[in-house]
Amino acid sequence: MKKILNENINSFYPMGNTYYYYNEYSNFFFYFFVLLGVSFLILALCYIITIKNPYNEKNSGYECGFDPFSDAREPFYVKFYLISILFIIFDVEVVFFFPWAISFKQLFFFGYYIMYIFIIILIIGFVYEWKKGSLDWD
């Protein structure tokens, strides 16, 4: 009787009753490598089957029909750099919102007041950035 019960349990769990480290993330790694392999395979397959006929003009960088005047790794506008720094600050702020958001119903008014103080600090920084003109793009 006990044996039959055990077999029934085993049929429910296809992995058997040994200790596999199996949880909801295990499939993710499998899918991750399969999809990465597929993406590489598409490119590799095309690279193998196509006919290649390279020559100097074809392989030069595109610059409206001219030969490229200079290397493209030039200094660029500093605003791009500034935007990415601002993004990092804001993203960290958003990360602070997540634990508050998930425990909103438990913390209730307490969490609300704490977040009120946090948002005031955030707004002070935001106004400073605005007044300094780092959000302008001229």
Partner: protein, 337 residues
């Protein structure tokens, strides 16, 4: 002494595990094939809808009503030569399209297509979406830098700056959704809308989400990286053949994904409207996604392009403060419900 019992147990588990792997492999490949098919249909839909809006015919030669046009295009791209510019960094140059395509298809693992129809179900799927979609910027940076072409470099910079600016807004919208459903799981986002879809209480947020989604996917009217008059084609100027096609597929996959997220967040995901509950759940979801894809195309055909400073001003000075205020306002209301 050799333990036979344990050995047999091991063999049995290997067998079951292999069977399971084949099952999982077939699932993910079928998912991928249908994703590629839907991308093909979306490109055809875009050309057809745009042509109808501009009162012309659009593709109608290949196949019935031009239905085979995207397949013909894809086949042609697949058979062309991959040109590698002589001054480029070859490894990064070839890795960038693969990476872009990979990050855009791996996002689909957590999307609930219907009631209990999703490849992965774990409790932090919304954080997963945010994390992987911010990795997508790297593909663009890689391609812009490694091409060693001025157009590609400037296009890549513009595109990256635009995407990270609007990501903040989208993150704030995610936070609002997490408060509304008090869970990180996308499936709980849908289940929280059982009585009322979030579009009704959160309409302004839906509007902001659609604007940010347009900017995030580099679509018109925010297609600054591909502004034809200035930058030829943006970060993918130097790409040809399947390398270009991978960028293209990634972009359209992201468009469909954004439509999917919009319908999960605001239109109740797989939930059917009252009176239509007899429909299968994935049917309702696909109808909602199709409507959003149509909105993306409609916007492209209707609105002129933004200037770059206007784009940044809209992102940083308008949308971010508004989403912050809306988030705090709704959390205040939730305290009294």
């Amino acid at each position: 002494m050799f333990n036979y019992n344990l050995y047999f147990e091991y063999i049995k588990n290997i067998y079951f595990y292999n069977e399971y792997l084949i099952y999982a492999l077939s699932l993910v490949l079928v998912n991928l094939i249908f994703l590629l098919l839907s991308i093909a249909i979306t490109t055809l839909l875009e050309r057809k809808v745009m042509s109808s809006i501009q009162r012309r015919r659009g593709p109608n030669v290949v196949g019935l009503f031009g239905l085979l046009q995207p397949i013909a295009d894809g086949l042609k791209l697949f058979l062309k030569e991959i040109i590698i510019p002589s001054h480029s960094n070859v490894f990064i140059f070839l890795f960038a399209p693969v990476f872009t395509f990979f990050t855009s298809i791996i996002l689909w693992l957590v999307i609930p297509f219907g009631e209990s129809v999703s490849l992965l179900d774990f409790s932090y799927s919304s954080l997963y979406l945010l994390a992987i979609s911010s990795l997508g910027v790297y593909g663009i940076i890689f391609s812009g830098w490694s091409s060693n072409s001025k157009y590609a470099f400037l296009g890549g910079l513009r595109s990256a700056a635009q995407m990270i600016s609007y990501e903040v807004t989208i993150s704030f919208i995610f936070v609002t959704m997490i408060i509304m459903s008090s869970s990180f799981n996308l499936i709980d986002f849908v289940l929280a809308q059982e009585y009322v879809w979030f579009i009704f209480p959160l309409f302004p947020l839906y509007f902001i989400f659609m604007i940010s989604a347009l900017a995030e996917t580099n679509r018109a009217p925010f297609d600054l990286p591909e502004a034809e008059a200035e930058l030829v084609a943006g970060y993918n100027v130097e790409y040809s053949s399947i390398a270009f096609a991978l960028f293209f597929l990634g972009e359209y996959s992201n468009i469909i994904l954004m439509s999917g997220i919009a319908s999960i967040f605001f239109w109740g995901g797989w939930l059917s409207p009252i009176g239509l509950a007899f429909l299968p759940s994935f049917f309702a979801f696909s109808i909602k996604v199709s409507i959003h894809v149509f909105i993306f195309i409609w916007v492209r055909a209707s609105f002129p392009r933004y200037r770059y400073d206007q784009l940044m001003k809209l992102g940083w000075k308008t949308l971010i403060p508004i989403t912050m205020i809306i988030l705090y306002f709704y959390s205040f209301i939730l305290l009294f419900i």
